[in-house]
């Protein structure tokens, strides 16, 4: 009976959804539970200090938090305008064959493994940056930011383009009839109407950049210092987790890694909440459909 089928389907799907919800709760719960002893054990303030020097008993991870945020923001500052530029290219600012090629390239880039970027950059970009900077090892903030920008680029473009394409389809005849050419339609009509997608793309790119482990681990140098110059070696929270996981499970260093994990979660929560607070017209569905 069809009615029963509906009920069963609803039940099963609800179970799937409940599973997902439980999984989310479990991830957050476990990490907070493991981070808790750090604070109840009296090391809390030490972990939230500004110096990481395990030999002298200083386990502050704030420099790493700063490094993560700086790295992600700079990657975003490089990648987001490029993504916007690419969207413009794809939607009429360069000849159609090139545009098609670009779109195919960007689709392919989503399947480009991060570790491959890191590996290639290690032998191409790092020596170049070393020469360009004239000091240091070439393993630095700037190197990692450049590669991260590239890593986050295709997702940003596809999210932006999903909205732009939809809007353009809706508006292009109207715009043309009003005497706009294709570029003017994009710039004056479509892009302003896609603000939701543009900010969603930024949030997504930021999330991708701050969450990546391999690129900073391989390319940023991992020195646990406050970021001052773009040629400084810095250590992101993610790389910190990768490096410190190997220590004794009862040490303060080990505890710091769960605090690092929680900090990353909190940054992520903040970005999501900020995105929700943004006044967007089509923001709710902005991140959808980029797989298509």
């Amino acid at each position: 009976m069809p009615g029963n089928k509906d009920r069963i389907a609803g039940l099963l799907l609800g179970t799937a959804a409940a599973t997902v919800a439980c999984a989310v709760a479990a991830v957050f719960g476990f990490l907070f539970l493991f981070a808790l002893p750090v604070f109840t054990g009296g090391q809390g303030l030490a972990v939230l200090g500004g110096t990481w020097q395990p030999e002298t008993g200083q386990f502050g991870i704030l420099p790493m938090l700063a490094a993560s945020v700086c790295l992600a923001l700079s990657a975003l500052a490089l990648g987001w305008p490029l993504a916007l530029g690419l969207c413009c290219s794809i939607r009429g600012f360069v000849p159609a064959p090139l545009a098609r090629l670009l779109l195919a390239l960007l689709r392919g880039m989503t399947a480009f493994p991060t570790v491959v970027y890191g590996f290639a950059a290690l032998f191409l970009l790092v020596p170049f940056m070393r020469e360009a900077a004239g000091r240091g090892s070439g393993l630095c903030w700037a190197t990692a930011a450049l590669v991260l920008a590239l890593v986050a680029l295709p997702t940003m473009v596809l999210v932006m383009d999903a909205g732009i394409q939809q809007m353009e389809r809706r508006l292009h005849l109207t715009g043309a009839a009003l005497g706009f050419n294709r570029r003017q339609i994009l710039v004056h009509l479509v892009l302003p109407a896609c603000r939701g997608n543009l900010s969603a793309a930024a949030a997504l790119g930021f999330g991708r950049a701050i969450g990546d482990t391999l690129i900073p681990l391989m390319l940023a140098g991992n020195a646990p210092q406050w970021p001052h110059s773009v040629f400084d070696s810095i250590r992101s929270l993610t790389a910190h987790i990768g490096l410190v996981l190997a220590t004794d499970t009862h040490s303060a260093a080990y505890g710091s890694l769960f605090v690092a994990g929680c900090l990353l979660l909190l940054v992520n929560v903040a970005v999501q909440l900020a995105l929700r607070a943004l006044p967007t017209k089509n923001g709710s569905s902005a991140t959808y459909g980029y797989g298509a």
Partner: protein, 295 residues
């Protein structure tokens, strides 16, 4: 020109259109130039005969064959775990959930989507420690654990794309189906899901791509430098991305480095062929559902 703003944007568009492909070409160029020499059976099987290596009769220690098999098993297992809950949850959110559930679950999923992969790995590790101290003292890092954590990592991608693809369908489609007397599930199964197939498959693809390339999660949950072919879901395993990461630092001589580059090429080819294969599958499925003949 009357529109300085436009010329500026044009210049920027051209700049991006040139600089991004150039950067990508440079990076892949490095791989090709330095890695193409190592492409060959030696890369995959070391000095073990290919047939013996593939059947696992002789373990491979110097080739990437076990890593390839490991990555594919990991991918398969991950999708096995993630597909049904992911798509199911997406369908639920798009069509069955009450508004309040939709809002909260949506938020939860967005949060899950933002979890960095190393943090997911950390979660897997804490889960493992907890399990060992309580229910299952014998468990260790394994293929099973790694793919479960990977499944969690890619779940939000599946859910949001499924939901998005369904919600992007014209509302009239579900109204029409309902008016024809199709129940909620029949509408979903017979009309909406097939119509949204392209978008959903895109999401599956994106998820598979992430599962195939992720290193951080598995680094904490069961991948090792050398293990041979995966011995089962409870054993440790090798995986291509980790092999590349490992080789990039641990190579002992020029040959091993060259093999690292070649391994990167192999992983790249694997990911891209995944993309191409799915695209073909998608076209075939669409044709079948529409019931139209090619003319």
């Amino acid at each position: 020109m009357k529109h300085p703003q436009l010329s500026l944007i044009t210049a920027w568009a051209w700049f991006s259109a040139l600089v991004v492909p150039a950067a990508l070409t440079a990076l892949t160029g490095v791989l090709l130039v330095r890695g193409h020499g190592a492409l060959g059976s030696e890369l995959f099987f070391g000095n073990v005969p290919a047939l013996d290596a593939m059947t696992g009769r002789i373990p491979v220690w110097d080739g990437i064959w076990p890593a390839c098999v490991g990555t594919l098993s990991l991918l398969g297992l991950t999708m096995l775990f993630a597909l049904i809950p992911g798509i199911g949850c997406g369908v639920y959110l798009a069509a069955f959930a009450r508004p309040a559930v939709r809002a909260w679950l949506g938020l939860a999923l967005d949060l899950l989507a933002g979890i960095p992969s190393i943090v997911m790995g950390l979660f897997g590790f804490t889960l493992l420690l907890t399990l060992r101290r309580t229910l299952l003292p014998q468990t260790g890092p394994s293929l099973l654990l790694a793919s479960a954590c990977l499944a969690l990592l890619v779940l939000p991608v599946l859910v949001t794309t499924t939901r998005g693809a369904l919600e992007a369908l014209p509302r009239q489609l579900s109204l029409s189906s309902a008016a024809m007397g199709l129940g909620q599930w029949a509408t979903m199964r017979r009309v909406l899901l097939p119509a949204a197939g392209r978008g959903i498959l895109g999401g599956v693809l994106l998820a598979a791509g992430r599962a195939a390339e992720d290193t951080a999660v598995i680094m904490l949950t069961g991948v090792v430098a050398n293990a041979g072919l995966p011995a089962g879901v409870t054993a440790r395993f090798e995986a291509l991305p980790f092999t590349i990461f490992y080789r990039s630092a641990e190579y002992r001589d020029a040959t091993e480095l060259q093999q690292g580059f070649a391994a990167a090429l192999v992983l790249l080819a694997l990911s891209l062929s995944l993309l191409a294969g799915a695209r073909m599958l998608q076209l075939a499925l669409e044709r079948r559902w529409e019931g139209t003949v090619v003319r």
